[in-house]
Symmetry: C2
Subunit: 368 residues, 2 copies
């Protein structure tokens, strides 16, 4: 007897001393984060943006690809890429972060893609706004959710599925939500959702459905796996939890000096050094960044660069530092206009989502 449950098992939390498994390593070898030195670029170049692919990258023909809009609408639509490209075109610079970023730093560790802090990127997405298209289709007055279905197919915790995520109707109708066909001025790469994906500025990555082929309007709340089971903040397996939605504030330090190959610890010579990095939040503009060089014992304000790239793009910060020889633990803490900031205690939940605990960058300042 062989069933899908033989290869697709329930979610779990690692034991207290359980190290990274080969399954987690396999995910880490395929999905990848931004190399932290690439925080130097305001717009992340192709191939350096983080990637999380639930199943396989599908093999889609842009010329044959269509987008269907159906469900609780007056006039179902079916559009090819050429028709989408003829519609009004906008570009938004958007910071995208995986909801699982920080997961592998949690104690105990939820077993899934084992991100440390690097599941982020900032890109320019070009496409056509979603709301006018939904309105053309004629949204039913009792519509509740809008479901986006991608072409990637797999099984997850025993549930065979195409990747599907819903947005509440009001979120789907936000002006800045895009059907994107280009990234950083070039056609979408296969791994970023070619030929068409959703962009939902301010939300964690799971909402930005890649390889998009169907949009369905529902008159009830969507109960599919990725909304009802996977992306929820739960205390334990029995907790129904609350949905993962917008990105919590976070600042990352661009590690100064040069690295040791194996430990990635940093080596720096004494003297003046500009420490910098990027900060973002999906709840509002970043209004303050503080820096620590002693692992969080004390904090100093960083200077924020003027906002660049609009309200959905990360913001550069900098901090002038003149260290003496010794060992340091650098970190940065962002606060946004909503008053949210980064915690000093880990925000543990069973899925390992939205862990915006302050990063730690070990730095050795050596005189020789």
């Amino acid at each position: 007897m062989t069933t899908m449950d033989d290869v697709s098992r329930p979610s779990r939390v690692a034991g207290p001393d359980e190290a990274i498994s080969q399954e987690e390593l396999r995910l880490a070898a395929r999905n990848h984060g931004i190399p932290l030195e690439a925080l130097r670029y305001d717009v992340t170049p192709a191939g350096l943006h983080y990637l999380l692919i639930h199943y396989d990258i599908p093999d889609l023909d842009p010329a044959a690809h269509t987008l269907t809009v159906d469900g609780a609408v007056g006039r179902p639509l079916r559009l090819g890429l050429a028709e989408l490209r003829e519609r009004p075109r906008v570009t938004h610079r958007v910071t995208l972060e995986c909801a699982g970023n920080g997961r592998a730093l949690l104690h105990p560790r939820p077993v899934s893609q084992p991100w440390l802090v690097e599941a982020v990127g900032n890109a320019e997405w070009t496409g056509t706004p979603l709301a006018p298209l939904l309105r053309e289709a004629g949204i039913a007055p009792d519509a509740v959710d809008v479901v986006f279905t991608g072409a990637d197919h797999g099984v997850e915790r025993g549930v065979e599925q195409d990747y599907q995520r819903a947005l509440p109707l009001d979120d789907a109708l936000r002006d800045e939500v895009l059907l994107a066909y280009a990234m950083n001025g070039a056609p979408l790469l296969p791994q970023h959702g070619a030929p068409l994906r959703l962009i939902v500025p301010g939300w964690y990555g799971m909402a930005h459905v890649k390889w998009l082929r169907t949009i369905s309007v529902l008159t009830r709340e969507f109960d599919g796996y990725q909304n009802a089971v996977a992306y929820r903040l739960r205390r334990d397996a029995d907790d129904p939890g609350v949905p993962v939605t917008r990105i919590e504030p976070r600042a990352l330090v661009r590690p100064p000096g040069f690295p040791d190959f194996m430990s990635r610890a940093r080596v720096l010579r004494p003297g003046p050094c500009t420490v910098d990095g990027r900060a973002w939040s999906g709840h509002g503009p970043v209004v303050a960044v503080e820096v620590t060089t002693d692992g969080g014992a004390s904090w100093s304000p960083a200077t924020l660069d003027p906002p660049a790239g609009g309200g959905w793009s990360w913001r550069r910060w900098r901090y002038e530092w003149t260290p003496q020889p010794g060992r340091y633990a650098l970190g940065a803490r962002a606060t946004d206009a909503s008053g949210r900031t980064q915690p000093v205690e880990q925000p543990w939940n069973r899925g390992g989502f939205a862990n915006n605990l302050v990063q730690r960058v070990d730095v050795l300042v050596v005189a020789e």
Copy 2:
């Protein structure tokens, strides 16, 4: 007292039960392999090619970048990118594989970048041949090695260094060795060595020096870290070992069916299925690929597609398979024209290099 040795420790082999450490995970999160479904592309798209970056990606200005040719030459040269682009231009399609591919599957496991099987890619590299440039510089009659220095700087096992690798003069003078400034028809991406890198078809990745800025001809054997210490096949720490050079033969299976998110095990429906993948070797053309569906107990010949892309590019193979419901372990084994093939026992060495043991892809064929 703080010294570089505090953060940069000697090489080691993991204990018998030692799982993946957070240091290894950090390397896995930044460096990445090819997602195995991307074996469908003969030329690997940008962002899907494997990446191994020893230190940080340097921040180089192409307009200001120069290449110096010096050492035991009659006429030292200094060239900008524009001058290199005016020289004869060639494009080679080249399969590049990291020498450490397969490391994390070894028992015991050498502790370094923890690759499974995915550290490979196949790209079109455009540039100018190296040999004419060296000849213009006037190679000394007693020249032995040619050293290539990149702009990436770090510390490794206690040795602070710019990344440097030497080739024996005869290898440096091979027609197909390139100074490359473009990949897949576009300017090099930062992570692939922009604005200039070396391409040494047939050799493992460590020879293809990225961010290239100096070429020095030596009248002695180069004794720098990456040649004399790092990339050597050693039985133990006291063994002087032999250099890692050309790529051992390997075939990879493009996993059929669809994946389970967490285990990456494959699910397939019964019925006819074309299993395919790619095979390559740096020692000679691939002349045969065999396939197993029972974890190596039995083997059947695969069909090789006609060679495409020249002698340094991987070759597609395919195998028609009609499975019944059940569990299978797929793998493929390449043999090249030199008679080399893939081992059934792990080729263990202390650095974990050139492990071309046959891949294992778990497949569940389910009727429902």
